[in-house]
Symmetry: C2
Subunit: 120 residues, 2 copies
DNA sequence: TGATGAACAATGTGTTCATTA
DNA sequence: TAATGAACACATTGTTCATCA
């Protein structure tokens, strides 16, 4: 068992929740995360977000569909990669989240122990 | 800024507190930590504890004194390395702890955000 | 076996670079 | 510049090995 939860797993958790709410694409979710975490002084790196998405595809949780971003291809031909759940992806995600929850609680416990044991 | 606090920093914090309470040696503190963390399913590795102690020496917080463990050298000639604060070590440690406290709170915040945002 | 430490290997992450229909 | 991705380098950690009185 590792010391604390890995950044990858942490990000995957948020990405799953984002896809639950609405399918989206990488750059977009990255921007949202950056915004969300601004108050915490944490800037999720691009690379980690993409890596997390790729892993979720590898694990059969999400699948990719390419799509043009804009409405008029003659104006906007930027291609984006949309992510959404596979057939059993939602179930898989549910299990993953459950497992991560346990680890989160364990980590919070460890950190709180440090906060109480080492400060008068 | 890193994602979560490093294991090294986490362990250093506990080691400092141990030395505050009573000077000790590595193997002993390692054993105590193992015991303390058992309920959390976390086993602090030897290597990290020793590395943490060495770093604290490097940083001028602690200094080492070698000593024979037992009372009778003809029976027990095991040599141990005792750690205690340098002259300004206590002050340095105090500053370090303050800084770690801020990071701990930040990390707890991040983990709690994950727990609230991703679970209904 | 207790105690200390170093060497080495693996992993995770940060930074930079490449590409774009 | 938005968007995706890979390559590469680095730091932290885990595992193993060495030594010793």
């Amino acid at each position: 068992m590792a010391f604390l939860i890995a950044q990858r797993a942490y990000i995957k958790l948020f990405l799953i929740t984002k896809v639950e709410q609405q399918r989206g694409y990488g750059y977009q979710m990255l921007d949202q995360l950056k915004e969300e975490f601004k108050p915490f002084g944490y800037v999720p790196p691009q690379s980690e977000v993409y890596r997390a998405l790729h892993e979720l595809v590898q694990e059969g949780v999400l699948y990719r569909t390419k799509q043009l971003k804009g409405v008029d291809p003659s104006v906007d031909f930027q291609e984006i990669v949309l992510y959404q759940f596979t057939d059993d992806g939602y179930e898989k995600a549910k299990r993953y989240k459950k497992q991560v929850k346990a680890d989160l609680d364990r980590c919070i416990g460890l950190l709180q122990k440090a906060a109480t044991d080492n400060y008068a």
